[in-house]
């Protein structure tokens, strides 16, 4: 190696090192100096991410008068990504977030997000439409976000209509009827293949925690157990600490022992929940009502000529006629405003005005239906898809359905936007049935009185506690533990911090008025 080439090599090495060093130090703090007419947003995504220069985003940006920089995060990892984002030093200006998550509560209470309590009333489209729901979204009396409305009562039972007809059965009205249907579906060969290869009910391993709208929670409510928390003898107690809870579990355990439930219920991934139903292995699913239309579509995909095989039944009553229905929270996550770049009240006002435009009628239509005349046309209260063969229009439709609809806070209950017109009679009838069942079941809905309350201990110690009850429930149902052991697990919940949580919940509920 000559001197010259050696020197050249050295220069190269040194400059590469320097480059590396500057590249690393530079990326940290800056770049996030958002200008006042740009908003950064984080929202869930249900398919492929929209093109930021796509037609729909252009239209939305034009409407709100701000440039949007949206981070779309696949829904499956949204929770994790939220926590990681909250731990980082760049929180987006607007964030769709579960306002009850421990990391959000901690961040909000440390002042990372705007407390919007009492601030929303002057924005016509952000003002809460429903007092009860607004209360449900609060964190110990404070509003940290604009809630995304969902129908208040969506629980129901999807049943194979053709199996009912074949066995000459009626749609169930009481829990005993349901048991009879499940028994018949299991033992009387509803698919007519001469083999005993079907079961009544399909349940998955539930990814969420206690009182998170699982089929188990719905059934417990039918039996009169509280929805999450309830008042017993003047005190608030967790739902699993009631005799009704145990009655419901005993009833369900009988189903499991008699083989009326899919044998792999403890391990079936909820992502594959539809499969056994569509394959004709099981005949019922207890879940949100939209699963009925989903299943109808799947049957239609399989055989467009003969697909009307699904019916939806609402919540059930007890044999003595008492009825308790399982309501949802009335919303699904909130849009929170970060304080990182939006520092003054004036800036906040600007952002809220932009959001108000986004949630106006015009905005709702954009977010929920798309661009009128491009991908849909209005037909009364319905939106009818058009030009879907054009790839550009298809892109708009995708951006609406898989992404932008997540930014809408009001449209999903028919405020502002059009409803999608179902393209066959069966789906249309099913959709209309949703409203009928909801109005009927709302009369007997059991609400969770402490949705707006979060005990500090459940934030600091929740990690050791949250799995105890749902795990014990599944273990009991599958026969791995006895009822005494189930009770012991409930006691373990109290002993490892639950007592403190119950105490704090009662105190807080008394203070903020539940």
């Amino acid at each position: 190696m000559t001197i010259l080439s050696r020197r050249r090599l050295a220069v190269a090495v040194v400059s590469a090192t320097a480059l590396l060093a500057t590249a690393c130090s530079g990326s940290g703090d800056k770049e996030q100096q958002a200008s006042s007419n740009e908003l950064t947003v984080m929202a869930p995504l249900f398919g492929t991410a929209p093109d930021p220069s796509g037609e729909l985003q252009q239209a939305v940006e034009k409407l709100v008068g701000k440039k949007l920089k949206i981070t779309w995060v696949p829904n499956a990892e949204y929770g994790d990504k939220t926590n990681v984002t909250l731990a980082s030093d760049s929180i987006p200006d607007l964030m769709v977030v579960n306002e009850k998550g421990p990391s959000f509560v901690k961040a909000a209470e440390a002042g990372a997000f705007w407390d919007l309590t009492g601030k929303l009333d002057k924005y016509p489209n952000l003002k809460p439409a429903d007092e009860q729901t607004a209360k449900n979204t609060t964190v110990n009396g404070k509003t940290y976000g604009i809630y995304r409305v969902r129908p208040l009562l969506r629980s129901g039972i999807v049943i194979r209509k053709d199996w009912l007809a074949k066995l000459g059965l009626q749609e169930p009205k009481t829990v005993d009827d349901l048991y009879a249907v499940a028994k018949a579906f299991t033992e009387r060969d509803p698919d007519g293949n001469g083999k005993k290869d079907t079961y009544g009910l399909i349940i998955p391993k539930w990814p969420g925690f206690y009182a998170s709208a699982s089929p188990y929670d719905v059934v417990e409510t039918w039996f009169g157990a509280p929805n999450g928390w309830g008042e017993r003898n003047g005190k608030l107690v967790p739902g699993f600490d009631t005799p009704e809870f145990l009655t419901a579990e005993r009833w369900l355990r009988k189903w499991v022992t008699e083989g009326l439930v899919n044998p792999d219920f403890a391990t079936l991934d909820s992502a594959n929940w539809n499969d056994p139903f569509v394959q004709g292995k099981g005949g019922m699913i207890i879940d949100v009502n939209v699963r009925a239309t989903q299943l109808l579509d799947l049957f239609k995909e399989k055989n467009p000529k003969d697909f009307d095989k699904v019916t939806l039944v609402g919540n059930l009553s007890l044999p003595d006629g008492k009825k308790y229905s399982y309501p949802f929270t009335g919303y699904n996550m909130v849009i929170a405003v970060s304080k990182q770049h939006i520092r003054t009240e004036e800036q906040l006002d600007q952002v809220l005005q932009a959001l108000d435009k986004l949630e106006s009628k015009e905005g709702s239509v954009l977010l929920t239906n798309g661009i009128e005349g491009r991908n849909f046309k209005a037909d009364g209260k319905y939106a009818v898809p058009i030009n879907q063969d054009d790839p550009k229009v298809k892109a708009i439709q995708n951006d609406v359905d898989k992404a932008f609809i997540q930014l809408g806070t009001r449209a999903s209950v028919g405020m502002g936007a059009y409803q999608l017109k179902p393209n066959d009679a069966a789906s249309r009838a099913m959709r209309e049935e949703f409203d009928v069942l909801m109005n009927e079941d709302l009369k007997t809905a059991v609400f969770n009185p402490v949705l707006g309350v979060i005990a500090p201990t459940s934030i600091s110690k929740g990690q050791s506690l949250q799995n105890i009850i749902p795990d014990a429930r599944i273990k009991y149902l599958s026969g791995a533990i006895t009822e005494d052991q189930l009770k012991a697990e409930i006691k373990r919940w109290y002993d490892s911090g639950g007592t403190q949580i119950a105490k704090e919940t009662n105190e807080l509920a008394a203070k903020v008025g539940g």
């Binding site: 050696r6 050295a10 990681v84 799995n467 791995a480 490892s496």
Partner: protein, 327 residues
């Protein structure tokens, strides 16, 4: 390595000792630096890499001793001392986590660690090169599959509703159908089986490389002296790969507390959580899904410290036993 043996240590077999090079006369550091300046310059990128990506991030470990709130940042969060460690050691989960982690580690040492050695030795005895090569390639393919796929395969084969193997066992024994993936008792056997299937073939590579390095003259000499294949194996092959085994064992010991997060997480269900929870999954669960960053960091730090202690300990032990050790 052989040069810095302490005087009171056992000297390894004569064949392996290299003569220590004569000590160079000491020169001032400045002249040394100047003389080898281009080598030192070339060292810089490596040093920069380690400083930036390995040592600088360690500053973040301080949050284990703080009540970290991201919004307030590293400097703004309050110090709480050993509070999180106290919570960990006295908390209801600690005993179970420790037991599960250690038991899985033990199972790994007993079943998974020797497997590549045995397979490599068996492959080495094969005389047909083609067979040897193809077997070797075939068994290391699973290494390239992700844990997600391995877990799905396990569910496909062992679940009660549609599992093929579960079905075979059922029809062979005539007993009741067993739900292998749901029962807590089958959790550890399945984990070990998965590890064996996925990692054994890959692990053989390093041992086969060691075996390839054995001087064939040794075998010839042994044959001349009348040693059979068993004798050759016992007196030549095995001693030849012994240092490799020791080094691998020391390296493995550092990872004893790493139970393989992905694998465990994917195999965990409500029914087996009691036996499945290990430090790795706990850190993820507490840190990412619950947002208790400080606590999770404390748990991770504890795990890391144990790993370091184990590496140094086993290295020491190896030297005590007359092996060369890692450093």
């Amino acid at each position: 390595m052989a040069t810095d043996l302490a005087p009171n240590q056992v000297v390894p077999p004569a064949a392996e000792v290299k003569q220590a090079p004569p000590r160079k006369p000491r020169r001032p550091l400045g002249r040394e630096l100047l003389r080898y300046r281009w080598l030192y310059v070339m060292l810089l990128p490596g040093l920069a890499y380690f400083a930036l990506f390995k040592y600088l991030p360690m500053y973040g470990l301080t949050i284990a001793f703080k009540d970290y709130v991201p919004f307030l940042g590293y400097s703004g969060s309050q110090w709480v001392g050993l509070e999180h460690f106290r919570e960990l050691f006295t908390g209801p989960d600690f005993g179970r986590l420790m037991f599960n982690t250690l038991l899985l580690a033990l199972l790994t040492i007993v079943f998974v660690f020797p497997a590549p050695i045995v397979v490599a030795l068996m492959l080495n005895e094969l005389r047909m090169k083609v067979v040897k090569r193809s077997v070797q390639s075939l068994i290391y393919i699973p290494h390239f599959l992700s844990w997600t796929i391995v877990a799905s395969l396990t569910y496909l084969l062992f679940s009660v509703d549609f599992g093929v193997i579960a079905g075979w066992v059922h029809s062979l024994t005539g007993g009741p159908k067993v739900d292998y993936v749901a029962q807590a008792g089958w959790f550890r056997p399945l984990i070990v089986l998965q590890l064996l299937w996925k990692q054994t073939g890959w692990g053989t590579i390093i041992y086969l490389a060691a075996l390839a390095g054995v001087d064939s003259q040794l075998y010839e000499a042994a044959r001349v002296d009348g040693a059979g294949r068993w004798r050759q194996f016992w007196h030549i092959t095995l001693p030849a790969i012994q240092p490799t085994i020791v080094v691998m064992a020391i390296l493995t010991s550092g990872h004893l507390m790493d139970s393989g997060f992905e694998q465990i997480w994917l195999m965990t269900t409500s029914l087996n959580r009691d036996v499945a929870d290990v430090f790795d999954t706990f850190v993820y669960y507490v840190g990412i899904t619950q947002g208790s960053f400080s606590y999770a960091t404390a748990v991770g730090l504890f795990k890391g410290v144990i790993g370091v202690v184990l590496i140094f300990g086993s290295n020491r032990l190896a030297k005590r036993l007359g092996q060369r050790g890692l450093f």
